[in-house]
Symmetry: C2
Subunit: 200 residues, 2 copies
């Protein structure tokens, strides 16, 4: 915003613009919108921001975000603690929970190994996963990282550490997305779908 | 977010989703991003929100948003107070200021007359414009509302009130946008461009 704008508005727009995927134009629009909100709503929004940051931390067990010591999934009675699904981010946990089918527990790595970005295995929560496995009665570890170079490399690395302990390590199936159109599938996906074909 | 998510995160995502143009998916992404921000930055963001709402109000003269009693444009020595550009929103002031050509002052209506949405002339800042005109030495009022049904109707309505006072009332020129391609111009714009053609 130009210097004729009220300074607090300019500052607020800059804060919005610092969020991912929000450009300066949208940020200004949002700042103006905040001006039209009732003061109570704005105060609640501000409180929600600081609350989320202050009260939410990582679960001591699975590293997912929670406001408790141990998250609701890890502390639930009806979850199978012998199956651990290893994911990159808390968002992935949300995605799996939406299926309402998976009844095991999770482990959130908070990143993927990427030597190019200087993210080595000690920068992500691998150590915590290993100590969980050494303590508990784990039967299977599902590597559910994204099918990208980093996701595959991280899955391979962790599998290499866990397999010698005699624990079953599996990887998500890759193939055609349900509802997808064959014509638009990329070659690698199509190859994976062909390679992992099932008898009917 | 599903109920396995930390409550403060769910609340924060809902706050983001209440902003215009931000869906639930983006709101969740932003909430997760806030978790990765340093606590200091989050506190500053929260403060910027409440600050903007508390400190910014409408200029007593032109109704534009400002943190002072009289905004920087109205109080500037180098602005021509005898020309008032009437706009719908503070965003429009920003747009005109970007041209760096207009040296008059503004009047922000904070809305347009729209009987369908029950916005009558008394709901927007027409009264304040009239009292400004009655007090000061105004020579020209430029109606710079959008070229929409509501924008045109508001411009016509206000012009009808001001013209009898013997003040010149003008409307922004409509025509081809600079850099635009004739082939893609809509019929009404093209007709306006033809109608308002200038001698070269």
């Amino acid at each position: 915003m130009a210097d004729h704008n009220a300074l607090p508005l300019v500052i607020l727009a800059e804060k919005f613009a610092s969020l991912p995927g929000i450009g300066m134009k949208t940020a200004q629009r949002l700042a103006y919108y905040v001006m039209s909100m009732p003061e109570k709503d704005v105060a609640e929004f501000a409180e929600a921001l600081t609350d989320a940051k202050k009260k939410v931390h990582r679960c001591k067990c699975c590293q997912n975000l929670t406001e408790k010591d141990i998250c609701t999934i890890c502390s639930a009675d009806d979850r199978n603690n012998s199956i651990i699904c290893v994911v990159e981010t808390p968002k992935d946990v949300t995605a799996f929970e939406r299926t309402r089918e998976y009844m095991g527990v999770y482990h959130v790595l908070h990143g993927l190994i990427s030597p190019m970005d200087r993210i080595t295995p000690d920068k992500i929560r691998v150590k915590e996963l290993l100590s969980r496995i050494s303590e508990g009665d784990v039967k299977e570890v599902i590597m559910a990282t994204n099918p990208t170079v980093e996701g595959d490399a991280t899955a391979m690395y962790i599998a290499g550490l866990i397999k010698p302990l005699g624990i079953k390590v599996t990887r998500l199936a890759f193939g055609l997305p349900v509802g997808g159109i064959l014509e638009y599938a990329d070659e690698v996906t199509l190859f994976k779908a062909l390679e992992n074909r099932n008898t009917m």
